[in-house]
């Protein structure tokens, strides 16, 4: 199954266009109340009318997302390594992480505000706590799935654990880590948004709240659409990075092979 990137893009764009059209028609024909669910044309007009406003807030949310993602990535990989090497960490920190991940961050809003204020810190913290989980779980799987004989090969050469980690476990965990990253980048965005709901005066989350207070549904949906676009773009950036970095992996070899 030869897959052409360009045809993929055309398909994706076509599908998107079809969805938007369907939505527009549905809103107009079925008389869905704009007040709850505005037509795409309304939303697009809203964005075109206030490009600066949306750009500014989207950039802020993007910044929080990226910083949160970067922290989640580094911290998550470090944690995963710790968990794979230490039964103690697995029994303690891992379980704690699992428990923390089950707690809705919004319920802890007061604590976040009190401990971290209302600037960027609480938002980044929430983005990190939401994004880190997938990274840890997937990286742990990846680090553990190394072929035992390959480990033997390295051990026979008296590679120390650090070398084994860097040169064997880590590269072979990369496909798994990337799967974790794809989930995490998406959740980092959600986390940034939840963070903006919890506190702060910038970003798309704040814009949504303000607009909700004013019953400005077009603006709410414009923000939501921008969020969806941002999430998609971030996801496919990670995907592209994966294709670029892991040409050797079975899931990408097809692209380089005749069949």
């Amino acid at each position: 199954m030869p897959k052409l990137a360009s045809s993929g893009f055309v398909q994706g764009a076509g599908f998107l266009a079809a969805c938007v059209l369907l939505w527009e028609v549905a809103v107009r024909l079925l008389g869905v109340r704009e007040f709850l669910f505005p037509a795409p044309s309304t939303i697009i007009m809203e964005i075109l009318n206030y490009p600066g406003f949306f750009a500014r807030n989207a950039l802020y949310t993007l910044l929080v997302t990226l910083v949160g993602f970067a922290i989640a990535l580094s911290l998550g990989v470090a944690l995963a390594v710790g968990i794979v090497y230490s039964r103690l960490l697995e029994n303690t920190l891992y379980s704690l992480l699992v428990a923390l991940n089950s707690i809705p961050k919004v319920a802890l809003a007061p604590l976040f505000v009190i401990w971290l204020g209302t600037e960027m810190a609480p938002k980044i913290a929430i983005a990190v706590t939401i994004a880190i989980f997938a990274i840890v779980v997937d990286t742990v799987l990846g680090l553990r799935s190394v072929d035992p004989e390959t480990l033997n090969m390295a051990r026979a050469a008296r590679a120390n654990e650090w070398q084994i980690l860097r040169k064997i476990r880590f590269p072979s965990a990369l496909p798994s880590l990337f799967a974790g990253m794809k989930v995490a980048i998406s959740f980092a965005l959600v986390g940034a948004l939840v963070g903006e709901f919890v506190a702060g005066s910038q970003g798309l989350g704040h814009a949504i709240l303000l607009a909700q207070g004013m019953f400005d549904t077009p603006r709410v949906f414009a923000s939501i659409v921008i969020l969806g676009l941002m999430g998609t773009i971030l996801f496919y950036l990670v995907d592209a990075l994966e294709r670029y970095m892991l040409p050797w992996h079975a899931s990408h070899r097809g692209a380089r092979m005749a069949m």
């Binding site: 809003a109 505000v113 209302t118 919890v198 506190a199 207070g213 549904t217």
Partner: protein, 304 residues
Amino acid sequence: DDDLSVLLDFAPWGLHAGVHLAAEKGWFKEQGLNVNVRDGRGSVSTIQLVGVGEADVGMAQLGPMATAREKSGIPLKSIAGWVRKGDLAAVVDKTAGISTIADLKGKKLALFAASPFLPFLDTFLKAGGLTRDDVNLLYVEPSAMMTTYTSGQADGVLTAGPYGQALAERDRPASLVLAEQAGISYPSYGYFSTESVIEGKEDILRRFLATQTRAFQYIYDGHVDEAVAAIISQRADLKLNPEILKSQIELYRPFFTTPNTEGKPFGWQSEDDWASTIKSMVEAGVLGDGFKPQDFYTNAFIGE
């Protein structure tokens, strides 16, 4: 029995006493009504849901309802105004010696980004000779608002005054700097419906509101404890705090009448109040031009 669905503004609190007491006392039955009361998730959501017909009657702040009427094009109309005096206020420490807007200079004030207070903020501050730069605004989630205040992170909270005051009482007693000081007239909690419901269920609404006027009259005639008990009994098992409920009801007492509604039954709204509300709202930019008071309320269901 005639069915009527009522969507409240939020999880149970003091002003829900009206419906719960009526239910408890069997007044709905007396009127041949079968009233289904549901809790809501904030005024905004309640207004939207009533607007699209998810419930017949909503309870919410009437100011935002007016905004929603313009934005949605759905003819929402208030059918009873309970908290007729504006309750927007800065909730501040009782002992901090803050009594005027000007005293807020340099203070840290928490508020919710979707709060109806926000559009009035400039007008409010201006009345004390302040601008936004003179205060430190902390936008936080509603659940974190009072905690930021009680924990000392903020010096005050911009919210529905008595509501916040009641919550703060135990940990950091508060007093109010009312937005009214700045000439802002913004009606608070009341019942509303769409015009189509108002026409279609006119008789049912009349009977329903009769129970409500009676309920609030009864409550403020010295039966606050009974009202609290009714809320708790209707929402059994939620471990509601009777003290907070009680102080919410009591703190709202003075807000049930304005000079213009003096002597009128509970729920009755004055044209003059709405006229100045419209003025305030237009100034704040939350309402366009060309609205008349009658667009937003009707006293048709409240006996004189």
